[in-house]
Amino acid sequence: MSKLLPGAWRDGKRYLWLLGIAAMALPMIGGLLAEHTGLSLFWWFTPLFIYLGVPLLDALVGEDRNNPPDAVVPALEKDRYYRWAVYAAVPFEYASLIWGAWTAATQTLAWWEYLGLAISVGMATGIAIAIAHELGHKTDPFEQWLAKIALAPTGYGHFYSEHNRGHHVRVATPEDPASSRYGESFYAFLPRTIAGGIRSAIAIEKARMARRGLPFWSWRNDVLNAWAMTPVLFTALIVAFGWKALPFLLIQAIYGFSLLEVVNYLEHYGLCRQKLPGGRYERCQPTHSWNSNHVFSNVFLYGLERHSDHHANPLRGYEALRHFDGSPQLPNGYAGMILLAYCPPLWFAVMNPKVRAHYDGNLSLANVKPSLRARLQLQGAA
């Protein structure tokens, strides 16, 4: 394998990555179908496709454990095509948002159609957080700005700061608001991660601005300048189309960032880095993130599901992310796992045995919900 010349290896997923752009257009496809067939159900096309179609396609198409050979990785990461395949998704995210706001404000929709439209667009703007994620890891100023622009529809601009300087640093430790704990349901995790993420982002920017000798209230503050885009965008859409767009905008934003948070929930569930004698945590290894190689949902999310390699090597481009045999594997892609997370008893039934197996039954090595940890220790002592 390692003898292969760079030219001899072909990226089988090269053109499949363009499906990430198609994902941004799903709500408009649903709207067209609703208009042409007269079936209201098509206002719900995006969630139906993502929650029913994608898990099924993941199960049918299966996994891809293929890794690009090390020799081709530098060329792969220099190939601008892969960057443009990400940039191009952002205009489609905005097309869906603007079309959605126009439809919500000016068309006659029944309430369930309006709700379906808002949830559909929220899925696109929520998935766009994965696009912002891919962009926000880069050090190029254009990509950093595009990341903030992609976050504006969901009002989650602070993700740009918190993710790199907060989540990546504390991932798979009890200190990380965005790492879920063994025994913690998604509904307990959601308020903890939302509040913890905002608090962490503000603390990070406060420290960064102070170090640069700048006041917190400054346009250079990455949390404030990213957040400011959201009211500007929403006001512009309301001025253009009318007040009836406001509930639509709020619903899609809340649904969108909740979608990001449910993805956070399943990425590190129960996994924990151990403390070193010096008091620091061990480095983040591929074993500290759940991985999924399911082809179909991976191409929708720019390889985000190859999460183990991403956290161990956060600057690696999505096209070069690898599968590791030693990393814990999710039984389906993210779309299917989200459905499980929404239903905590099912989630615990599937995932708790996997966490226990990963730590050979020794839960003291896992990231366990504090109340459950106290109970487990009591049992151990008795």
Binding site: T139, N164, R165, H168, V169, I204, A207, R208, L276, P277, G278, R280, R283, C284, H311, A312, N313, P314, L315
Partner: protein
């Protein structure tokens, strides 16, 4: 002794302290930190992503 900061996550490498947990003795100069070393907090590689010098000798 100098300090170097990771541009991605703000981790600081202090030459005076080194990284004893990782086998880098206190007093190791930045130039002598192995090229294969990466930021212990966020994984940014030394080779690809510069740390910025934050403080000159006391």
């Amino acid at each position: 002794m100098r300090k170097w900061r990771c541009v991605i996550c703000d981790f600081e490498y202090d030459e005076a302290l080194g990284m004893p947990d990782e086998g880098i003795a206190p007093g190791t100069r930045w130039e002598d930190v192995p090229e294969s070393w990466s930021c212990p907090d966020c994984g940014a590689p030394k080779a690809e992503f510069q740390m910025v010098e934050v403080a000159q000798a006391a």
